[in-house]
Structures are given as structure tokens and as C-alpha cells.
Symmetry: C2
Subunit: 332 residues, 2 copies
């Protein structure tokens, strides 16, 4: 029986738990920990975990795979808490929306005997929390994987296997690339969504406006309903990239404004026609093709967790640890 | 057999046609006209209209109810075109996203013997055009009605009946109120959506960004896929209100930016927590209650179109017309 630990059982952690459990991989035991007792019990009840752990440290004990699915700024103290309890050779991953800081914290705080592989499944929902968890949340979504320099192939493969088991398509990236990209595609829309709801709600005419709100307003403000704590962590930990994109957006909106203010047909029509055309193209044909080199192989999560691959890894780790201890012994 | 004319058979005109036809009101004959032959044939094929008219003037001939469902700036020339062909006592309505100009054009261009009642169903979809038409498009949506000062009760009731037949909830407003409200709740989100897609698409990293796009980006940019012509007409014809709301939004976004730039927890958390709380409240409990006076009665579209109400109206109009002609005769 191999143990998987999930720390944090919100929408993402809960959905990963449900996806693992649904996959029917045998001899896996999923242990969970969450900030509140209610969430933990709920996760157990809906079948996202097999066992409730009272602390994060308790959850990770003897776990071959540890998934941190907490708000970004909670990840650092969690690393500190679990570090002494992690078993040598354990694979640790996360799902945070920014990667630069997480990679630094992992390097700084996690023992060298474990393998950290950063992750970020690009999936979400209007409603946060365990009750919104869904085994299909990641289906056909991109799951970004950011291996640390010290993570070995087996560890990377384990996380790739996890992403694939959840139905996601893996994309490798370095942390800086990731953070600059998500600022544009994910964090900027979040800031706009919240600012839009905020300014319209702030109007004295809100009661009338609300009655006129249709699906357009609901869709553009959907992200405003996400967890404020998550938004805070994102904005703080990816601050410079977010500010850069807010500035670019303000410039673009000013360009639209100038065209409207001038009141001439061509510039206004052009401002709206180009995004319409390109968005429709994107919706129909998907993202442009990239030359990514070799396609990412299909990896069996079950093999990685239970098979020879990980056994080999573990053996190597245990040997390294033993050697290190012997060296330490000799120095005394 | 009473005739209803629909001029313009895009998403809105087509959906109204489908809703009327589905309602099974007897002895109604729906005549349509559209800019292209393809649209017109398609509308006939999907059952949104009974008969194709080659011109707008031909469509409105002998029609008791005329629905203009064209882009706003096409409405003025359409009024000019149909004015001589409208029968006395006809009820004319529209579905344009701005009302101030439409009401002025109606007063200026339509004969005094017809009743203009402005309308704006607050409903939309990602995809424009007749192929996206849907009899349920207006279900539980708000349909704003802006009666002209000269429209009689029967005419207003006819349009209320049409809106209710489509499943919408009627809200009465004057044109200025309407235009200032929709600038906030509908036109601003449209401008933001298009500017967001535009700035992200304009990035050199677009191929990578596109692969990371998830439902959040898709939802916030959904409105960018609307018809550019419609967007143009909205922005031009509601310019001052739109500019006002773009300015308010830019200020609000700058407030978010300043909080993020300062990097302190409280202001950032607060910026995101308030819209989250209030949006969730809005999504769960709906718009705040307003004191609107008497509720709007349920009106039978069938009665209005075929029953005694409209016959009385028609008789009165015919008498008025006759009297006017007699006065004119005497003056010669």
C-alpha cells in the first residue's frame, strides 16, 4: 500500500483526490489534511481522500507523493512544517498559480533527499471549495510542470503521470516563463473581473443595474467570485508581472477609449473586429501550434507509484541517505 | 390572419421569430427581411419566419406589429424606408442596445399614425447570427420597454405581450436611464472583453499564452466574439455614457493596481474580498429588490394581436386618419 498525501482540500486538492480515487489505481491510500475540520470531513465523505490526518506533517509521513494544494502564501509555512516528516525519496509537488517563489522555497526548505516538481493545473471554476470539487476539472486542460534542477526523471514522471491521470495535457516550462505567462492569461483577467464587479456594484444605480445584468456581465465578472485569499496570494507573489500586464491593459483600453471618443467609424470597427476574428479563430482552431520537440510520453501513474521505477528511486535515495549518515558519523 | 414583420434576422430577430412561432399563437403570419438572401432563407428554413420579404418595406406592409432587429445604426435608414409602407395603427418596436437615438429617430421619421415602443431584450450569446437563434434566448431575462410619449396603451401592451411570450420579465424605463445603465452593465464589459483579448493576443508570447488559456480567459473575453458592427454601433451611439464608464473603470483598476504595487496584505485582500462577497450574494439572491410600484400584469400577446384590443386601436387610428384627411381636403 503506497501513500499519497494531499495538503489542502479546496477545489483543486479535492478534485485531484477525486480523480485519483476514480482512476482505481490499486494499493494507493490517499491521506488528506485541510485547514478546517469541516473541509477534511467533507473530503472524506465525498471520497476525495481515504484518511483524515490532523496535521500536514502527519499526512506526509511515509507518503511517496505529496501534493500541496494550498494557497500560495500558505505553501512556505507548509514546506517548513512537513520538511522533517518527509520520507527520503518522496516526490513533492504543488498546484500554486505562481512558480518562482514556490521553487525558491522548495530549494530553501525541503530536504535534499526529496524531489520537488512544481505544478500548476490551468483549471478553475466559479465556486471555490471542496463542495465544487470535480474529478473532471482538469480534463483537456493544460497542467504546467516546472521541475526543480535536482528532481530526478522518476519524480518528474510521477507528476506527469498524476497530471495525465487527471486527464490534463502536460506542458513543461521554467518558473519565470510560467509566471510571466499566467500574469497575462490568468491574473490580469482576474484583476479586471474583480475591478469590473467592484466599480459597477459601487454605483448608486446598482439595484437598477443588477436587474439588467445578463450573461455578458455574469461571464466577465465570473473570476471575481474566486477565493479572495487566492487572489491576494497571486497578486502579491506575481506582483511585477501582474503590474506589467495591468499597465499594458490600461494602454489598450485607452486606445479603445480614444477611438470611441473620436467617434469615427473605421477605428472603432477595427478595434472590435480584430479581437472578434482572432478569438473566433482561437475558439474554433485552438491555440496556435508550437514546435515543442518530442511529444510527452504517456506515463502510467500506477507504475510510477507502485512499480519498479519508484522502487529503484527509493533504493537509490536510501543508499544516498545511508552514505550521508556514514559520512556524518565519520566526522564526529 | 394578422401579420408580424421582423426586420433583421440575426441572433435576436431570429430568436424572437422562433419564440413567436413556438408559442403557437394562431392566425399569425410572420414575414421577415434580412440584409442577405442566405440569412433570409436560413430563417425560413429553421422556422423563424413564415414568409421571406425582399425588402423591409414589403415586409411591413399590412403588418400590425413590426419588430426592427437590426444593428442600431441601420435602424435610422430602416425607419426611413418603412415609414411610407407602415399601415396606420401599426405597432413598431425595436431591440437596439441604445434607446435615446432610436426614440429620436422614431419621432422624426415614423408617421404619427403608428405607435413606436422602444425595446431592449437584455440577452445575448457568444455567437451572433441566425444559426445561433434560440426560442429560449430571452427566458427569465429582462426586456426593457421604453414607450414613446405618443404610443397608446394598447401598443405598449402589445410589446409587453411580445416580451412575455418570449419568457422575459418586462422593465419600463426612459431612454436616458436605459442608456446610462446599459453603458455600465453591458457596454463597459464589452469594451473590456475586447481590449483584454486584444492586448493578450497582441503579445509576442501569444502561442504560449493560448495554450495556457482556461475557462477564466474564455469567459472574460466571451463578449469579444460578438458582432463588431454591433459593438461599433453601441460605442458610437452611446458614446458619452460609455466613456464615462471606461473612465470610472480605469480609476477602479488603478486603485487595484496601487494596492498590488504597495504589496500590503490588507488593501489587496479587501479589494478582492468585497466584489467576491457581493457577487456571490448577487448570484445567489439575484438583484436587490426595488420599489417599482404595481407589478406588470400578464398580457396575452394573442389577445393583443388578434383580439378586440387591437381592433379598437385600429378603428381609432383609421378614424383619426380619415378625420385628418378630411381636414386636409377642406384646406385645399
Amino acid at each position: 500500500m503506497e501513500r499519497v498525501a494531499i495538503i489542502g482540500l479546496g477545489l483543486i486538492g479535492g478534485s485531484i483526490g477525486l480523480a485519483i480515487k476514480r482512476s482505481g489505481v490499486k494499493d494507493l491510500h490517499v491521506v488528506g489534511n485541510a485547514r478546517t475540520r469541516e473541509t477534511l470531513q467533507r473530503a472524506k465523505k465525498i471520497g476525495a481522500i481515504d484518511e483524515e490526518a490532523r496535521t500536514a506533517a502527519e499526512a506526509v509521513r511515509d507518503a511517496r507523493l505529496v501534493i500541496i494544494a494550498a494557497p500560495i502564501l500558505a505553501t512556505r509555512p507548509l514546506f517548513e512544517e512537513i520538511a522533517p516528516a518527509l520520507m527520503p525519496g518522496a516526490v513533492v509537488t504543488d498546484v500554486g498559480s505562481t512558480k518562482g517563489n514556490v521553487m525558491r522555497w522548495a530549494k530553501e526548505l525541503l530536504p535534499e533527499t526529496v524531489h520537488f516538481v512544481g505544478g500548476h493545473p490551468m483549471a478553475g471554476k466559479e465556486t471555490p471549495g471542496i463542495d465544487a470539487a470535480d474529478a473532471d476539472l482538469f480534463r483537456e486542460k493544460t497542467w504546467v510542470i516546472v521541475p526543480s534542477v535536482t528532481a530526478d526523471q522518476g519524480a518528474v514522471k510521477t507528476v506527469v503521470g498524476l497530471a495525465q491521470l487527471c486527464g490534463a495535457a502536460v506542458s513543461f516550462m521554467d518558473a519565470e516563463e510560467h509566471d510571466s505567462y499566467v500574469a497575462a492569461i490568468s491574473h490580469l483577467p482576474l484583476a479586471l473581473s474583480s475591478a469590473l464587479f467592484s466599480v459597477v456594484f459601487g454605483s448608486a444605480a446598482w439595484p437598477e443595474l443588477a436587474h439588467l445584468a445578463s450573461s455578458g456581465f455574469r461571464d466577465t465578472t465570473r473570476l471575481a467570485s474566486g477565493s479572495p485569499e487566492m487572489a491576494h496570494d497571486i497578486m502579491i507573489s506575481n506582483r511585477d508581472n501582474v503590474l506589467h500586464w495591468i499597465d499594458r491593459f490600461q494602454e489598450e483600453l485607452s486606445r479603445f477609449r480614444a477611438a470611441i471618443a473620436a467617434g469615427e467609424t473605421e477605428p472603432v470597427l477595427e478595434a472590435f473586429a480584430k479581437p472578434q476574428l482572432e478569438r473566433d479563430n482561437f475558439m474554433v482552431n485552438g491555440a496556435p501550434r508550437r514546435n515543442l520537440g518530442d511529444p510527452i510520453e504517456k506515463i502510467s501513474f500506477s507504475d510510477m507509484m507502485l512499480g519498479s521505477a519508484i522502487s529503484g528511486m527509493m533504493r537509490k535515495q536510501t543508499e544516498m541517505l545511508k552514505a550521508a549518515e556514514e559520512r556524518a558519523e565519520k566526522k564526529r
